[in-house]
Amino acid sequence: MEVLADVLPPGVVNVVTGPGAEIGKALAASPRIAKVAFTGETVTGRLIMQYAAQNIIPVTLELGGKSPNIFFGDVLAERDDLVDKAVEGLVLYAFNKGEVCTCPSRALIQQGIYDEFMALCLDRIGQIKQGNPLDTETMIGPQVSAQQLAKIASYVEIGRGEGAEVLIGGRRADVGGEFAGGYFFEPTVLKGHNKMRVFQEEIFGPVLAVTTFTGEADALAIANDTLYGLGAGVWTRDGSRAYRMGRAIKAGRVWTNCYHQYPAGAAFGGYKISGVGRETHKMMLEHYSQTKNLLVSYSTKPLGLF
């Protein structure tokens, strides 16, 4: 807020803190509010839409995702930088400790390259440095809260219970030193199938659910077999395939041969229960604006109808 103070006029940005049950409804249901945007879980999203309906105001929502990151076999057709980039692209599930709505938390890997590609990825995941979040050498810091840590651990347990195989990680991490006892969780990969809960629910932690597919149709079916539709990644050397997949995946943002890139101007938002509306694009301003039509007659003569 101190940084913003010199940029925005007084009163434009107001931060109200307090328990959601007390201040959340008071804000969302207030007739003085002209538009609501919310990022969070689905039930609160529904409630906000309900309050907005009562006041007849627009609302935009971003409610999470379970984004597929799809790796076609031709990624390994050459031994070049793209392989390196694709490996990093898979490991980006651990970016910001997985606490990102667009976390590529489902990896779909074409059967023929699974063993070789996964070996490369697990090697890279094993090199992730956890620790002091302010140290520039640190790759991932601690989870945001004890609650979050417990939730992540519980999902790994649920995954195990459903028969998922823990390929790496799966436990709370103790980084020792002054951060001993911190809310660190090991970057984790669970191998299973798309019907498992760990493939269906946002975990919001460094936990990747990985499965294989046979061909393009299979990859698309698995990618779209989710309640969510926020992000997706497609990795291939075939431009036509990338385009077909990009068109057919039901998600608001499909990255091709990249992931977690958020340039200003690129529309961002979700299909299905991932939400309503788009942000970071010019169209976002329309959510906060009215369209007015001034229809002015330059003639002083009546129409002559009456």
């Binding site: 328990p19 959601g20 049950a21 959340g24 990022t39 969070g40 879980e41 689905t42 039930v43 609160t44 529904r46 409630l47 309900q50 971003e62 409610l63 999470g64 995702g65 990093e88 606490e99 709505c101 090199q127 440095k129 620790g131 520039t136 004890a146 609650q147 417990a150 939730k151 651990a153 519980s154 999902y155 347990e157 649920i158 195990r160 219970g161 459903e162 028969g163 436990r171 709370r172 991490a173 103790d174 980084v175 020792g176 030193g177 660190f184 090991e186 809960r197 269906q200 629910e201 946002e202 975990i203 919001f204 309640l227 977690h260 958020y262 340039p263 200003a264 101007g265 229960i273 991932s274």
Partner: protein, 175 residues
């Protein structure tokens, strides 16, 4: 305004949760409702509202009642979660979203019932099924097993990756 009645009660509650629900209803002088949430951030927690606060519809499945308070789950979510039997419990921490909490720095949580978790097990023997997400249990289980720090020097990544500033530009920039 609601929803199919429960054919089978698929929600139960720990004694602590039942006590908390009773205490909350008594303090408010009115009943509450629970709705299982999903998605971003706090995601998988149950939301607790004054009864009737969330308008439920045909796709909201009534899993049952806890101390007379209804517990709903969205039917598509219920399917994605394999029709779980849920256990309402309390844990340390503040409630999420617009949810009411039982007070005393606690919040409501749900976890799959053990028996149901076992039956959910798809291709693994039953003894590996999880029994819950209790924070204390998890803490005790994970506290001693965490890996040690990264004292050992990792192999140099030089030349393989872009430097950090460039990577940050790449993520937030237009490149």
């Amino acid at each position: 305004m609601t929803a199919t009645g429960p054919r089978v009660q698929r929600i139960s509650a720990t004694p602590a949760a039942r006590k908390a629900v009773n205490r909350l209803c008594a303090a408010r002088g009115a009943p509450v409702m629970f709705v299982q949430s999903a998605g971003c951030c706090a995601g998988s927690v149950p939301m607790c509202f004054p009864a009737g606060e969330l308008v439920t519809g045909a796709h909201d499945l009534l899993l049952g009642e806890v101390e007379g308070c209804p517990f709903y789950i969205d039917s598509a979510l219920d399917t994605a979660w394999h029709n779980p039997h849920l256990v309402l419990d309390v844990a340390d921490g503040e409630p999420e979203g617009f949810s009411l909490g039982p007070g005393s720095g606690q919040r409501f949580i749900t976890r799959p019932a053990c028996a149901e978790a076992r039956s959910m097990s798809m291709n693994r023997s039953a003894e590996s099924a999880p029994c819950g997400t209790d924070l204390a249990l998890l803490r005790s289980r994970y506290a001693s097993s965490g890996r040690k720090g990264h004292q050992e020097e990792q192999s140099s990544n030089e030349g393989r990756t872009m430097d950090r500033e460039k990577a940050i530009d790449w993520i937030y920039g237009d490149g």
